[in-house]
């Protein structure tokens, strides 16, 4: 049984700005942030969700933890649907599943010192025996993420980006969770710090048998951290498979475009000679009909403009949503 299973998740944001707005616009505006997404994460796996901004990957992350209520679909955690959890069950679930948020600093309360931030989950779940133990536990957690004791007295704005990120990780680890959703945990970090964070996360995964849902736009780190990758475009998964497969044998034109801009430091090429995909991601308010990628796709044909492709298995364990393969 998969640890986490997402079935046909949909999340539409409705811009409903009162009666007048409706009159003027002939109905509310629907933004399909996530449109029919399904995947599974096995225990101790890392599923990376990659895509450009606005593709809905963060929405997926938040839905999986039930931080937002999905419009439709079901999320199973250890086989139980978290959408039907009552208060106690939800609290228990929150003990098990943690999140590391994208912006290292804004995810820390600016008026809390690090000690308060890291110990907050312990307070919430009543895991504190007494004060001294608490401080010990905080120091232990900080130590785990490579911060010394003195950081426990600092405010978030006194931390560097990497330190703030580590504090966020320490907080996520405080309850010894099984499952962590990492929403772009390395964006905006310097290379040396980024690598340290990546190493740390990988080490922790091995040590504590953690399962990650890893949201990212950095393909290099995805390659390093994950063993499965889902590529999202405009609220949909266009391709999902093993990491190795996707790097060596991707099938969807968008994946191809995305990976074409990827270059290793040892590659010898330059931008002028390189083939580059045109255009930008369309607005999710008004997505193109048919395959949403078709206006930018060099292979697109008539069918792409009309019919929306379904996610189908092109080979075992490799799914893609493209008419080219049907």
């Amino acid at each position: 049984m998969a640890l986490v299973e997402v079935k046909n998740l949909k999340k539409y944001f409705v811009n409903n700005d009162g009666l007048l707005y409706k009159l003027a616009n002939k109905g509310p505006i629907k933004v399909k942030a996530v449109d029919d997404v399904s995947f599974k994460i096995e225990k101790e796996d890392t599923l990376a969700v990659v895509g450009e901004s606005g593709c809905g990957k963060t929405t997926v992350a938040r839905s999986v933890l039930r931080l937002i209520e999905p419009t439709a679909g079901e999320i199973l955690y250890k086989g139980r649907s978290i959408n039907n959890f009552n208060k106690q069950e939800l609290k228990a679930f929150r003990e098990d599943a943690q999140m590391i948020l994208q912006d290292p600093r804004s995810s820390l309360n600016p008026r809390f010192i690090v000690e308060e931030i890291v110990s907050e989950p312990l307070y919430i779940h009543d895991q504190i025996k007494d004060d001294l133990n608490l401080l010990d536990r905080v120091w232990e957690l900080l130590d785990l993420v490579g911060l010394s004791k003195r950081y426990s007295e600092l405010f978030p704005h006194e931390l560097s980006g990497g330190q703030a990120r580590r504090v966020g990780i320490a907080r996520a680890l405080a309850l010894q969770p099984e499952f962590i959703v990492c929403d772009e945990p390395t964006s905006g970090l310097d290379i040396s710090i980024m690598s340290a964070v990546l190493n740390l996360m990988k080490k922790l995964q091995q040590e504590y048998q953690l399962t990650y849902l890893w949201i990212s736009h950095n393909l290099h780190e995805v390659r390093y951290i994950s063993n499965k990758v889902a590529v999202m475009y405009l609220g949909k998964i266009v391709e999902i498979t093993d990491t190795d497969t996707i790097f060596n044998n991707s099938v969807h034109p968008y994946t191809e475009a995305l990976f074409s801009s990827l270059r290793g430091i040892n590659d010898n090429w330059n931008y002028q000679e390189h083939e580059i995909i045109e255009g930008e991601v369309p607005s999710p308010i008004n997505p193109p009909a048919g395959c949403s990628f078709h206006p930018r796709c060099k292979y697109s044909f008539d069918k792409c403009k009309k019919v929306e492709p379904e996610l189908k298995e092109v080979e075992i364990g490799h799914l893609a949503a493209c008419h080219l393969y049907n």
Partner: protein
């Protein structure tokens, strides 16, 4: 044991704020004015050189002398003593009024932001109706209905100002609710009460505190203004506004007399607003690195 840790943290945090404010000349100015007024108000009978109610019509309208440092008024009462005693209504009005507006404002603002729906519309509507009147005119009319007294001045000022807090609390709660750290707390399993009281309120409280510093200045201003129009505090309470009004007709015979209450009002307002400004900078952990 448990408490001590919290207290320790509080101490550490306030020590930071104090450290920052220590470097700000505005904090010194505001702080000393507020202290002066509080001391005057609390220890008036000990400080005041004379009985502020003691009349002596043979000594009326005298200039400053050793016996009456600031001179006497038209009934021969000691102006300095009256100034000191008048700090009491000033403190009562400003603190009382602000407590009323802040408490009602926070409750209504939080309700509006958290419950939403019709309740939110009703609360916002109440705010809008109160805000539809220019404040001083609303206060004037309300006072003429209830009748002027210390309590009614406090309540009316409080209610008139209240929508400011309600709206600020609502707006900030709505925006704080969207903040990443609130989201993070929710993902940790924090319930609404913890989020409101631990995460949202402390963050809002800074702006409420700063705003209330400024509003306390305006309350003193309004109270004095009402008294100046003959509608504020009533005798035997004498406020700076009452003194201002009483002195107004002597601006030719005893022009110094009007200077004292005017200075007291201005200094108090200056004190509250500079202190609030200094506090604003110090309480904002993001801003205070620059100072």
């Amino acid at each position: 044991m448990f408490k001590s840790q919290k207290f320790f943290r509080f101490q550490k945090k306030s020590a930071r704020v104090i450290k920052i404010m220590k470097k700000d000349y505005k904090a010194y100015l505001g702080g000393s004015v507020i202290m002066l007024i509080l001391i005057s108000a609390i220890f008036a009978p000990l400080i005041a050189p004379a009985d502020p109610y003691k009349t002596n019509v043979t000594k009326r309208l005298e200039g400053p002398s050793l016996q009456n440092l600031l001179g006497t008024d038209s009934l021969g009462r000691d102006i300095l003593s009256r100034l000191i005693y008048a700090a009491r209504p000033a403190v009562l009005v400003s603190f009382g009024g602000i407590i009323i507006s802040v408490i009602i404002g926070i409750i209504l603002g939080l309700l509006a932001a958290y419950v939403g729906g019709i309740l939110e519309s009703i609360i916002l509507f109440i705010f809008d109706v109160i805000r539809a009147f220019p404040p001083i005119i609303l206060i004037l009319v309300l006072l003429s209905i209830i009748g002027p007294s210390l309590l009614s001045v406090i309540v009316i000022l409080g209610v008139t100002i209240m929508p400011r807090y309600g709206r600020v609390v609502r707006a900030e709660t709505l925006s704080e609710k969207e903040e990443d750290f609130v989201e993070a707390a929710r993902s940790l399993g924090a319930d609404n009460s913890r989020i409101i009281f631990k995460h949202i309120l402390p963050n809002i409280f800074a702006s409420v505190l700063v705003l209330s510093g400024m509003d306390m200045a305006s309350m003193i201003m309004w109270e004095a203004g009402l008294s100046f129009l003959g509608l504020g505090l009533q005798p035997p309470l004498s406020s700076w506004g009452v003194m201002l009004q009483e002195s107004y007709q002597y601006i030719q015979t005893a022009p110094l007399m009007i200077l004292w209450p005017a200075l007291a009002i201005m200094l108090t307002m200056l004190g509250f607003s500079t202190f609030a400004e200094s506090l604003r900078v110090a309480l904002n952990p993001k801003l205070n690195q620059e100072v």
